[in-house]
């Protein structure tokens, strides 16, 4: 049985406890990388990461890109959207098509 998790700074992720997510807090890149690895090893199929935290550990997140599980999905943190999630979509379109055709 798989679980879902949220990783980010304390204020952004606390609310997700109410929805039955596993919650991991991280304020710096080391904690974030460790937490992400731990969550991935503990059968979390979907890990939502706040954009602020994800920006600290781009390499760690890239590792999971080509694996079907876990899906590491960026969500906006408490500070609002940074546009990283959208940029990722554009990025994969560019990789696949060779040009950004979504405007």
């Amino acid at each position: 049985m798989y679980k879902t998790a949220v990783l980010g700074d304390r204020e952004s992720v606390l609310g997700f406890m109410s929805a039955g997510f596993s919650v991991a807090e991280a304020d710096n890149s080391e904690d974030a990388a460790r937490a992400l690895r731990r969550l991935a090893n503990e059968d979390h199929a979907v890990i939502f990461v706040t954009e602020e935290t994800a920006a600290m550990i781009p390499d760690e997140i890239e590792k999971y890109r080509s694996k079907p599980i876990p899906a590491v999905i960026l969500i906006p943190g408490k500070g609002g959207s940074l546009g990283i999630g959208m940029a990722n979509i554009k990025n994969s379109v560019e990789r696949a098509v060779g040009a950004d055709i979504l405007k």
Binding site: T4, A19, G20, S66, P68, A71, I75, G80, S81, G85
Partner: protein, 225 residues
Amino acid sequence: MEIRVNPTRMELKRLKTRLATAKRGHKLLKDKRDELMKQFLDLVRENKELRIKVEEGMKEVHVGFTAAAATSSPELLEEAIMLPKRQGELDVGYRNLMSVNVPVFSFDIKDADRAGGVNYGFASTSGELDAAVIRISELMPYMMRLAEVEKSSQLLADEIERTRRRVNALEYIMIPQLETGIKSIIMKLDENERGNTTRLMKVKDMMLKAALESKRADDDIPAEE
């Protein structure tokens, strides 16, 4: 770069077979790439819509929680949401999308109750918290779908990139190489053939000349006697 080959008929036949295979593979891969692209574009459009929706929703949730945190003490807040009644359980299946295995997440919420996930006393917490908690549970299906679609589109993007490389390798390297190989063998064989013909003609000339001379010699001898 070209392939070095022995200019023999056997080698020519082998190269021709390889060329035919390469051309068939190229056509198949091109079809695969086109179909992948079609699927990918559909997915990516849905991905974009879902992301906009989820990001909007998240903004509301954060506003709600910030408001709740402002009106009640952090300990109380944590206590209220720490023990969810609902346990999220996630089932992961796989779907084969153009020979790419993509995950399918089905999230089912146990003990889903009428209050939409609010399972704490209302006395000590603020109304903003209730709203935020309800909003999160409303958002859940979209978040799960977003996870599924975004993962699928990432996996497809990788597969498209790989397929495109293979198509290009076949189209611009493999097939031209085989074609020049075949061409050079044919040229060489033709050249040999021409060389052989001229040699034969030459030999025939020489033989004729020799025959003529010996005949003349034969004719000359009796005349002297």
